[in-house]
Structure formats: structure tokens, C-alpha cells
């Protein structure tokens, strides 16, 4: 796909997500105001103006969440993963730092900040809002499982997300999804409070309907926004950068064989990962996120990589295994 077209589409989708999120919160506020009669008034210019209390609160918090996501969404993701900067004293992490810089040279972009997440499940993600402010996180499990060429392929896939301007959209999805999950929990628990008179019961029932029906719907829309072509595109970019699609195919096969579930990050961060992570446990929220299939089947991704014409690689990384 045309690079510019994808960037424009990503920007539009980010705005749509923010608007959808604001509408969702606004709906919650309106229901609460209408049912509880909390529409107060305030005086301005000698006139009484209606002030729907909860609606105003909801819109304010939606605006806050949106600007917070734009300004610090990447930091939220990094904190969720407990990502830490590289330690050059460790050979594997020194190598990761080098690989990130190598791939950045191939892409002709500034090198993103590299992080390691203390996570035994092998996986990797990219976050940020522009190529100038981008971060790549690799789990300790991945660092221990890959050869140098495979690590470069994974990093190049993440660099593909950076170059194709996917990272801001994906970060927005992760953070807003987290907010919606939180909201769902709050609303579903609030139902317990609605045991008083009929009117209050009605209100909390309506809020529960929003939590149970509307919020997953929005989440589903977000999943559609993250169409699966995005992952294919990043795979293709990785092959173009390293001229070694088979290394990425091998890396994906290793990631697919993994049985270790992720400890942190959970379902919200899932769309950011290079392969869909194994989730632990059976929380209520998990069902909402099962609606997602943000990643195309691994077998198809591997088949496409193997079919790519660059099969004769010019690279030399496989000379040294990552962990001798």
C-alpha cells in the first residue's frame, strides 16, 4: 500500500477512536444525569444555564484521556510492561542495542529507544507517536530465544510499524481500550449500588447495558480499525529492510511455538505485540477481548514471507548465535 495513504488513514482512524470514546463516555454521563436528575444550573449573565453534571464530567474526562494518550500513551505502555532501558554490560542487551541501530540505518530513520521487559514470554512491541519519538520493547524471553538474524528481523518488523506510522494508532487503541475496560468494571460493579428505589435501579440497569453492550461494540470497532493488513505490511517492510524474509519466518515460527503466557500487559497491550500473546486466566474482561483477532494467522504470515523473492539474503548475522 502507498505509505502516505496509510499514514493519512492512520491519522483519521486515531481521530475516529477519540470521537467514539468521547461519545461512549458522554452516553454514560447523559444516562446518569437523566435518571438521577443531577442536571444543576449555574448563573451567567443574569440567566440560568443548565449544567448536566455527569455529562460534563464525562466529556471532561474523555478530553483528558485523549490528550493524555497523545502526550504520554507510549509511557503508559512502557510502564505497563515494566520496560527498562538496556544494560550495555549484558552482552545480549548490548547486541539488541546494536541491532536496533542497524535496522534504523537500513530504514533511514532515527534509532528508536530500546527497552527490555522482564517477561519470560517471547514477544516484542513498538510504541510512540512519531519516528522521532518511538520506542521498541523486547521481552527477556525473546532475547534468549532468537539468533542475531532473527532478532534483527523482529526489530525490523517493529521498525515497519514505526515507518508506516502505525505506532500512534496502536498506542491509542491500547490506552483507550484500557480505559474502557476500567469503565466496564466500574459500571458493572455499580449495579450493586442500584438496590434502592425503582428509579435508581433503572439507572444502574441502563449503565450496565452500556457496559455490557456498547463498550464491547466500541472495542470491536477498534479491532476493525487495526485491520490485519497492518501486520502483513510490517512483515513486508521487515523483509525489505533486512532482505532476509526467512529469518522473520523462523522467528515467527519460534514465537508461535511459545506456550508461556504473558505476565504483564494483558489484553489491552495485545494488539501492539508482534504475535498475539497467550493470556493467562479467565477474567470477565477477557471475554470482551476475545472479540479481537488483531493478528492474522501465523501460518499465513510465514507462508507469505517464505514466498518472497528476496530469499537469497545478503546478510551475515547468522554467523553468531545470540546465546553461545
Amino acid at each position: 500500500m502507498d505509505l502516505y495513504a496509510q499514514q493519512v488513514r492512520n491519522r483519521r482512524l486515531t481521530w475516529l477512536l477519540f470521537i467514539g470514546f468521547a461519545l461512549l463516555l458522554g452516553a454514560v454521563g447523559l444516562v446518569a444525569d437523566a435518571a438521577l436528575g443531577t442536571g444543576g444550573t449555574f448563573w451567567l449573565g443574569g440567566r440560568a444555564w443548565p449544567l448536566p453534571l455527569f455529562t460534563a464530567l464525562a466529556v471532561a474526562s474523555a478530553t483528558l484521556a485523549a490528550s493524555g494518550t497523545y502526550l504520554a500513551g507510549d509511557r503508559v505502555v512502557l510502564a505497563t510492561m515494566r520496560a527498562r532501558p538496556l544494560d550495555p554490560a549484558r552482552p545480549a542487551e548490548r547486541m539488541l542495542g546494536n541491532v536496533v541501530e542497524e535496522v534504523a540505518i537500513a530504514a533511514g530513520l532515527p534509532a528508536p529507544a530500546a527497552f527490555v521487559a522482564p517477561e519470560p514470554a517471547p514477544n516484542a512491541l513498538a510504541t510512540g507517536r512519531s519516528p522521532e519519538r518511538a520506542s521498541i520493547v523486547v521481552t527477556e524471553g525473546l532475547l534468549g530465544a532468537m539468533t542475531r538474524a532473527e532478532l534483527a528481523a523482529v526489530v525490523a518488523h517493529e521498525m515497519g510499524h514505526v515507518r508506516n506510522a502505525d505506532i500512534r494508532l496502536m498506542t491509542t487503541v491500547a490506552v483507550l481500550l484500557g480505559s474502557i475496560a476500567l469503565l466496564c468494571d466500574v459500571l458493572l460493579r455499580a449495579r450493586v449500588l442500584g438496590t434502592g428505589d425503582r428509579r435508581r435501579r433503572g439507572t444502574f440497569a441502563a449503565l450496565a447495558v452500556i457496559a455490557a453492550v456498547v463498550a464491547p461494540l466500541i472495542a470491536r470497532l477498534m479491532a476493525l480499525a487495526l485491520s490485519r493488513t497492518r501486520e502483513f505490511e510490517a512483515d513486508r517492510t521487515a523483509a525489505e529492510l533486512t532482505r532476509d524474509p526467512l529469518a522473520l519466518a523462523r522467528a515467527l515460527a519460534k514465537l508461535g511455538a511459545n506456550e508461556v503466557p504473558v505476565r504483564r500487559g494483558g489484553p489491552q497491550v495485545a494488539p501492539l505485540f508482534i504475535v498475539a500473546p497467550r493470556l493467562r486466566g479467565d477474567t470477565a474482561r477477557r471475554d470482551v477481548f476475545r472479540l479481537f483477532a488483531t493478528h492474522p494467522p501465523l501460518a499465513e504470515r510465514i507462508a507469505r514471507l517464505e514466498a518472497m523473492g528476496y530469499a537469497r539474503a545478503e546478510r551475515r548475522e547468522d554467523v553468531a548465535p545470540a546465546h553461545p
Binding site: E102, L241, V319
Partner: protein, 185 residues
């Protein structure tokens, strides 16, 4: 109605000329910038080589000629100017390094040397950086040269006196499996 056709055509041609000119200038600047990136990485390699020679000198003391040849090739490469000259000098350096690495295989002491292992990672990443910088540069050169040679942008290119850019070739030894494995098997 007909009166507008000539001026509209002129405006369209002028706009196309401006657009094509700007595209060629942008490509030329990208090529120059990519070349500077290669230069940075080559300098990194030049800085690494004295360190490499010092590390292996003690062990490989009967290979003085090879070590001297590496140092000389390195100094020649550091002096080289311009794409064509650098091309030749770097090829000479790659060949000298190739001989050194081939000989290093006969010295198992190097495989257990901590310094040599750290140096191997540095050499691997440097060689990769050079290869990737060259890949980006050559891709840009191809786009620039293609724009100069194809119709209709070749007309503008000729008008502005654009010269085809020179590819940066890989050394013949580098094209095969490069041997940066003096320590780890």
C-alpha cells in the same frame, strides 16, 4: 473558452517543471545524505581496527605481515576521498580483514578471550551498519539515476545538468559469507 486553453497549458507545464525539478533536487540531497551515513559507519570501522589488531597481536605474533597489511589498508581507506576512491580502498581493507580472520581460526586462544568476544560483536554490528547504509544509499542512487534517465523527467535532469550518482559496490569477499567469527563458534 478556447482562449483559455493556451494559458492553462502553460501553467500546467510550469507546474510540472517545478514539481519535477524539486523531486530531482530532493533525491540528490537524499543520496548525499545517505553517503554521509556510509561515511560515518566506515569511520567507525576504521576506529575499530587498531583495537582489533592490538587485541590479536599478542596471540598472532607470527602473523606480523598480515597485521601490517591490515593497518596499511585501514590507513589508505581513511585517506580515501569520493565514492569511487573509497570503493577501491574499502575493498582492499575488506580483503585484508578477510585474510586476518581466516588466519585467526588457527588460534583457539582467541576463542576464549573475553576481549576478542566483545570485539566480535562490535565488528559484526559495524559490518552490518556498513551493509545497511550501503543498501539504503544504493536504493536511493537507483531512484535518482532512474529519474534522470526516464521520460519525461530526463528532460528536466538534462536542463539542470544532473549527473548520475555512483553506486557503492560490496567487496567481492563481503558478498560471500563474511568471516567475523574469530572468537565464537
Amino acid at each position: 473558452m478556447g482562449i483559455w486553453i493556451a494559458p492553462a497549458g502553460l501553467v500546467a507545464v510550469a507546474a510540472w517543471l517545478g514539481f519535477t525539478y524539486n523531486r530531482l533536487v530532493a533525491l540528490r540531497n537524499q543520496v548525499q545524505n545517505a553517503w554521509r551515513q556510509i561515511d560515518v559507519q566506515l569511520r567507525r570501522r576504521h576506529d575499530l581496527i587498531p583495537n582489533l589488531v592490538e587485541t590479536v597481536r599478542g596471540v598472532m605474533r607470527f602473523e606480523q605481515d598480515t597485521l601490517t597489511a591490515v593497518i596499511e589498508a585501514r590507513n589508505a581507506a581513511a585517506r580515501a576521498q569520493g565514492v569511487a576512491e573509497v570503493n577501491v580502498a574499502e575493498r582492499g581493507l575488506s580483503e585484508a580483514l578477510g585474510r586476518l580472520f581466516a588466519l585467526a581460526e588457527a588460534y583457539p586462544e582467541l576463542k576464549s578471550n573475553q576481549n576478542a568476544r566483545a570485539l566480535q560483536e562490535e565488528l559484526t554490528t559495524t559490518e552490518n551498519r556498513i551493509a545497511f547504509a550501503r543498501q539504503l544509499y544504493n536504493d536511493l542512487v537507483m531512484r535518482y539515476n532512474t529519474a534522470q534517465e526516464t521520460v519525461p523527467s530526463n528532460l528536466v535532469a538534462r536542463g539542470m545538468g544532473a549527473q548520475p550518482a555512483v553506486y557503492f559496490e560490496a567487496a567481492p569477499t563481503e558478498r560471500e559469507a563474511p568471516r567475523v567469527d574469530l572468537a565464537i563458534r
